[in-house]
């Protein structure tokens, strides 16, 4: 059997943060020493304004990975080749290290629910998804990386556990996996499975990246709200995943009640400590310590012209885009999906 190189040959980028509009001004001003950024692809592929400009500035200084929410790989609708072409073009433009999306469908009959809906885990779905991944990879001319979504339902039509589906899918389509450790935890609570068993059973050499995030525990179930700190049980799962994969690029998602950039960055840096704790517990050596590749940031880089204060022109009114522009979290709203490109300063 064909055994791929670890992480499909992709680099270990270290500890990154999801790029959010609330942090644009801070990043352009401070150029924080974060290892890498992940963008929500849909927020940038059509932008001809400030989001695109900010992304270009960031891509000049940091590795960027493109994470999409509208590929809808599991849908029975036709693939959107126009969308794929835009992904490919932006990936080339910002030198995206890889392109990811989710094992899900987002809608059918031309509609988009803007949610990451789970698929029945059976042979029919597997064949369908594998065929579509192959097509997408051919168009993008690179391997696709797919994430396990959080889910709130399971189906009578499912015949295999999710980890088995992901294993077979990634082997048959020769694609990568994005292991969202928080999603494994959330789905584990929601579907009464053991998240450790899930993580142990995955094909670890195919895991290119990990996601971390906070969630909301509603007692009877968990909702993937991305609105807070990572809880300890999820960190423990992460440490286990780290050991099993040998360490992969790790990214924190924080999409609602977004705190200042430094708080988000500090949260992902906690990974270092958890990995050390875990390796001490396991008796493994220092090779298990999280790699943080410390991207070189030029502190003298010129401040962005858009970071300047507003210009008052005579009687004319001036302003930036008004809205806070992102999906937030009602207590019960999962928040995995794209946001309107948003506010500034």
């Amino acid at each position: 059997m064909h055994l791929p190189p670890p992480r499909l040959g992709h680099p270990q980028l270290g500890l990154g943060v999801g790029l959010r509009t609330a942090h644009f001004a801070h990043i352009l001003r401070e150029w924080p020493a974060v290892d890498w950024f992940e963008i929500i692809s849909e927020n940038f592929i059509d932008s001809q304004g400030r989001p695109r400009y900010v992304l270009e500035q960031i891509a000049e200084r940091y590795p960027v990975v493109m994470h999409g929410v509208s590929l809808s790989i599991g849908s029975i609708d036709r693939l959107d080749f126009d969308y794929l072409a835009k992904l490919k073009s932006l990936a080339r433009h910002v030198n995206a290290r890889w392109i990811s999306d989710h094992l899900c469908w987002t809608g059918v009959a031309g509609k988009n629910t803007h949610d990451l809906l789970p698929v029945p885990l059976n042979e029919e779905t597997l064949a369908h998804v594998v065929e579509r991944i192959r097509i997408v990879q051919e168009v993008l001319e690179r391997p696709l990386v797919l994430e396990n979504p959080s889910s709130y339902v399971t189906f009578a039509a499912s015949t295999m556990p999710e980890w088995e589906f992901l294993s077979r899918m990634s082997a048959e389509a020769d694609c990568g996996l994005l292991l969202d450790v928080n999603n494994v935890y959330v789905s584990g609570v929601n579907h009464d499975f053991d998240p450790v068993e899930y993580i142990e059973a995955l094909p670890h050499e195919r895991v290119v990246q990990c996601h971390l995030a906070g969630h909301t525990n509603c007692g009877t179930h968990c909702i993937d709200t991305h609105d807070g700190e990572v809880i300890d049980p999820v960190w423990k799962l992460y440490a286990r995943a780290h050991r099993l994969t040998g360490g992969v690029s790790t990214l924190l998602e924080w999409d609602a009640k977004i705190p200042p950039f430094d708080v988000v960055h500090a949260e992902v840096l906690k990974a270092k400590r958890w990995v050390e704790v875990r390796s001490a517990e396991c008796g493994t050596g220092s090779d298990a310590i999280a790699h943080s590749n410390g991207v070189q940031i030029d502190p003298t880089a010129s401040p962005s012209r858009i970071a300047r204060t507003s210009i008052q022109v005579d009687r004319f009114v001036v302003h930036d885009r008004p809205q806070s522009g992102r999906l937030g979290s009602h207590a019960s709203v999962s928040n995995p999906v794209a946001f309107l490109v948003g506010d500034v300063e």
Binding site: Q48, G107, K111, L117, S324
Partner: protein, 294 residues
């Protein structure tokens, strides 16, 4: 689990989408599907939640998520009319115009037109007069600002400047055409909402303005969106220029609407063209047929 054969992926997705997008909830949604499948025959339960409760999470999230996006895009309108009324409008809109795009940036695209198409015929009641027009104005402004913010711009380009404008020979002026920047948009309004809009965004609670026709130009420079209140004559002038008409023809149309004496109008024109050039409304000037670029 039941004895029914499992649904095909196709039938499953059509069923689930109808159920989770139904505004009356998943039970009402399941009843609308011809097959009449029971939720429990498709969705399995967990230890803590029934099939219905689990599927219902997707139904509630669908509307809450998209309403939040609509509120974000139309935040001033939502503040002006209150969240409850806004949500009822937005809910009606989402049912008539569900997203068909990979991007949420297009979610609210047709909301101003939807409000216009569904406004009460008598224009509302009592002191509030024809307030629907006011809401439609606000919606149009917010949508236009978003379009200008993320659409094509001229950052990094050199635009028409005062020197080049002044260098155009007088006898070439009337025949020349001013190429407007792609981010310049004009909005004719039923209410002078500009100051109201600014005040709400500042967090104030301004009084509603009295109804009167108003006009705005909206554009972008250095990735910032600017609003310029216009008088009617300015609007007609810019409108003709945006349509690609010659300066002479545009001025002629504007003059027909000018309330001021001719010499005053001539002086105004000079000021306006300088102001608009400074504000970056024009990318270039082209001379038609005779002569060449001044």
């Amino acid at each position: 689990m039941t004895d029914e054969p499992p649904l095909s992926l196709d039938a499953f997705q059509r069923w689930m989408q109808k159920v989770i997008m139904h505004p009356g909830g998943v039970v009402a949604g399941a009843e609308t599907v011809e097959a009449g499948l029971a939720i429990e025959s498709v969705v399995t339960r967990s230890r803590a939640l029934s099939s219905f409760e689990r599927l219902d999470i997707y139904n509630r999230s669908y509307f809450a998520r998209l309403l939040e996006c609509m509120q974000a895009e139309y935040s001033v309108l939502a503040t002006a009319i209150g969240e409850e009324l806004f949500d009822s409008f937005a809910l009606g809109y989402l049912q008539q115009h569900p997203s068909q795009s990979y991007t949420l940036a297009e979610l609210g695209e047709r909301f101003p037109d939807y409000l216009a198409a569904t406004r009460p015929v008598d224009g509302g009641v009592g002191d509030e007069g024809d307030w629907p027009e006011f809401l439609i104005d606000l919606a149009r402004l917010e949508r236009t600002i978003n379009v200008v913010f993320d659409g094509p711009g001229t950052e990094g380009e050199s635009l028409l400047d005062r020197e080049r404008l002044m260098a155009i020979q007088p006898d070439h002026w009337a025949e020349s055409r001013l190429e407007c920047v792609p981010c310049l948009k004009l909005l004719p309004l039923s209410y002078p909402i500009n100051d109201y809009f600014t005040a709400v965004r500042r967090g104030d609670q301004p009084d509603l303005p009295a109804r009167a026709p108003a006009w705005l130009a909206i554009t972008r420079r250095d990735f910032r969106v600017y609003r310029y209140p216009l008088v009617a004559t300015q609007f007609h002038l810019l409108h003709a220029l945006l349509n690609g008409e010659t300066v002479g023809s545009a001025i002629e149309q504007a003059a027909a609407t000018s309330p001021v004496p001719e010499d005053q109008f001539a002086a105004d024109l000079r000021d306006w063209f300088f102001q608009w050039t400074t504000a970056g409304f024009f990318r270039d000037v082209r001379l038609t047929d005779r002569g060449h670029d001044g």
